[in-house]
């Protein structure tokens, strides 16, 4: 996974709260191999009707094709743990989702795919949404900063420090955990003595 520090590009706004992962990618698309690309599935049932794009949906505009940022209201990504919801956003080209709050599992999945879940205040989300409502808005996000730029406006965002480092470096947890192999082995050995009952019994 390759990391990133800064991105500039168009932002699209979705003036909805609680956009759940079933909407981000309907379950029926999830047997598709990732190599085929998940971008076309993003918010599929909001965007398409009988296979045709629904005019007026913010993601169906010409500007949205190059979108790098998605702005939404609170509780973005609640629901199912499907990482495919993140794949759909990433494959569409989105690099950061900007919202007042996120589903916990979604946010962790996002970071593992270098998609930044940037938390902003409710008021900031509303002002960004009103900007995007008038057409595509150019945003500049520098993950090492505490503010993003929308034209002349500066908007504060929050991102966990470890997540910030992980996204910038494109780190993978399996690599990071590698250096703790000794501690894991020691825990396992001690735990076998301490909690022998916790090992799976043979079963019937």
């Amino acid at each position: 996974m390759s990391g990133w520090r800064t991105h500039s590009g168009p932002a699209v706004g979705l003036d909805q709260h609680g956009i759940d992962t079933d909407q981000l990618i309907p379950a029926r698309f999830m047997s598709t191999p990732r190599t085929e690309g998940y971008g076309r599935f993003l918010l599929h049932d909001q965007r398409f009707e009988e296979g045709r794009p629904i005019p007026g949906h913010p993601l169906n505009t010409a500007d949205a094709e190059d979108a790098r940022f998605l702005i939404a209201r609170r509780d973005f990504g609640v629901g199912s743990s499907r990482e495919a919801a993140v794949y759909a956003l990433v494959d569409f080209g989105i690099r950061a989702v900007i919202a007042p709050s996120f589903g916990d599992i979604f946010a962790a999945n996002a970071v593992n795919n270098a998609l930044a879940p940037l938390r902003v205040s409710e008021a900031a989300a509303e002002s960004l949404l009103s900007l995007t409502g008038t057409g595509a808005t150019e945003l500049h996000v520098d993950l090492t900063a505490t503010h993003m730029n929308a034209g002349q406006e500066k908007i504060a965002f929050a991102l966990d420090d470890h997540w910030r480092t992980k996204i910038i470096n494109g780190w993978d947890d399996i690599d990071l955990t590698g250096k703790h192999q000794g501690a894991i082995a020691a825990y396992r050995e001690a735990d076998m003595v301490r909690r022998p009952w916790a090992v799976v019994a043979r079963g019937a």
Binding site: D22, V78, S81, V86, H162, I184, G203
Partner: protein, 466 residues
């Protein structure tokens, strides 16, 4: 002297391998459950040439894509099940596949087989993993990258969640179930109300619940945004577990019982948040919108966006449009097209008994599907003659799986059709594109089947055991 700790803290502390500077802990994982959706994670392992670290602590269950009738609905669906079988075989993982007597929905199978135990950490690539917390375990859903990490290392990085104690004082009224308790608190706190929190369910109404009821309550924790939900283990827990296939026996059972008796939160343990609910106030609850927080007592009317708080107006208006409902109309009497009884939320034996007690000797006005939570639940239900009750009422009795809760296997609600469902999510399109879902308890779904409309089940319980 150690400081007083909660159930969650005690289990957490016992699993910490390493603490990072930013406060995240590397935790040992006692049980890892995988299903068809784990194919992305296995693919990641294969790319990196890694092996599964602890196949003995890993169990594969086919549930999301399994057909409930006959053969897989498409080649792609069949391939999902075959891929899981192959991945489990390649890594020496115990696998409960189609036609295995232990197969079922992963969150029904874990407790039923005794894989789920008090004091454990458990993960699965499914948000409803919170279910297993009913036995006094820390259990939570994770994404594919994390599944790959657990497969490769049997550990996971996590920051401790904040604690929220939800106390249900008093007793539930007749015909009121754990499902109503869950929809009630989620409606009150909101679908993001418990975000970042580990919920411990407490109080006399929780203690009085059967294991099945506790599993339903913990299952829905994620619908309130919680990381996990838990109930402290007690005699109900131990009686449920004793003798199940994978439960430790002999001296290990005794040692485990002793360890488990220390798990409940200390009397003076501090919670970050405390919410108390009077159980007697809970009524049969149904959802009217497109989020589990859109729930009301059956006697209520459909909310009016114009009278709602400003930040709810837009959501309510959109939800009513999708659901085809008009503001101000009573929820009771809303005509439905079909019913579904199933899912990891409400397809255990007790759920089927509750539904059957309403349906016995009655005929459903609408068609419906009944999918038991596991092959074992199906077998017990058939021994008790429950399948006959459902069939005689005109419903279709099928095999175990996630089925029409998520529609991955092809069991879907057609566009625009209204389904009374025992499941966990009324999200847009969850049960199929354009499907309209109303969540409620198994007894309430049975009542809706009998009358063909949303109905207060208490009117149908006169003279019957509820």
């Amino acid at each position: 002297m150690t400081a007083p700790r909660t159930l969650y803290q005690k289990i957490w502390d016992a699993h910490v391998i390493h603490t990072r500077e930013d406060g995240a802990d590397l935790l040992w994982v006692d049980r890892h459950l995988v299903h068809e959706g784990s194919h992305h994670a296995f693919a990641r392992l294969a790319e990196r040439g890694l092996r599964v670290a602890e196949p003995g602590l890993t169990t594969g269950v086919a549930d999301h894509y399994v057909p409930t009738r006959g053969t897989p609905a498409s080649e792609a669906i069949g391939r999902m099940i075959a891929t899981l079988r192959e991945n489990c075989a390649r890594h020496g993982i115990r696998f409960f596949g189609q036609r295995d007597p232990r197969q079922g929905i992963v969150h029904v199978v874990g407790p039923e087989q005794g894989l789920t135990l008090p004091g454990l950490t458990m993960v699965c690539g499914d948000s409803h993993t919170s279910t297993h917390g009913a036995l006094g375990a820390i259990a939570f859903g994770i994404g594919a990258t994390e599944v790959a990490h657990v497969l490769a290392t049997q550990t996971i990085w996590q920051k401790p969640a904040r604690s929220l104690r939800l106390t249900f004082d008093g007793a539930l009224g007749p015909g009121i179930t754990a499902k109503d308790m869950a929809l009630h608190w989620i409606a009150r706190l909101g679908s993001g109300g418990a975000q970042g929190h580990a919920v411990e369910y407490a109080g006399s109404a929780v203690r009085a619940l059967s294991m099945e009821g506790r599993l339903t309550l913990c299952n829905l924790s994620i619908e309130g945004g919680a990381r996990c939900g838990m109930v402290a283990p007690d005699d109900t827990t131990f009686a449920y577990l004793e003798g199940r296939s994978f439960v430790p026996d002999g001296p290990h059972w005794e040692a485990a019982r002793e360890a488990w008796s220390d798990l409940p939160s200390d009397a003076d343990a501090a919670f970050d948040r405390d919410v108390t609910i009077d159980a007697a106030e809970i009524e049969p609850t149904v959802t009217w919108g497109t989020s589990p927080e859109d729930a009301l007592p059956i006697g209520a009317t459909v909310p009016d966006p114009d009278r709602a708080a400003t930040d709810r107006r837009d959501h309510i208006a959109r939800a009513l449009d999708y659901m085809g409902l008009s503001a101000g109309r009573p929820l009771s009497g809303t005509p439905i097209d079909q019913v579904f009884i199933g899912s990891c939320t409400n397809a255990r034996i007790e759920d089927l008994r509750e539904a059957a007690s309403v349906l016995a000797g009655r005929v459903a006005k609408v068609p419906g599907l009944v999918s038991p939570g596991s092959a074992l639940v199906k077998q017990v239900a058939e021994q008790e003659g429950l399948d006959r009750v459902f069939r005689d009422a005109g419903l279709t009795w099928v095999e175990a799986g996630c089925s029409m809760c998520v529609g991955m296997n092809g069991d879907i609600v057609p566009p625009g059709k209204r389904c009374a469902s025992t499941t966990n999510r009324n999200f847009r399109g969850r049960q199929g594109p354009g499907a309209r879902t109303h969540l409620m308890s198994p007894a309430m779904v049975a009542a809706a089947a009998v009358t063909g409309e949303l109905t207060d089940v208490r009117f149908l319980l006169t003279g019957r055991a509820a």
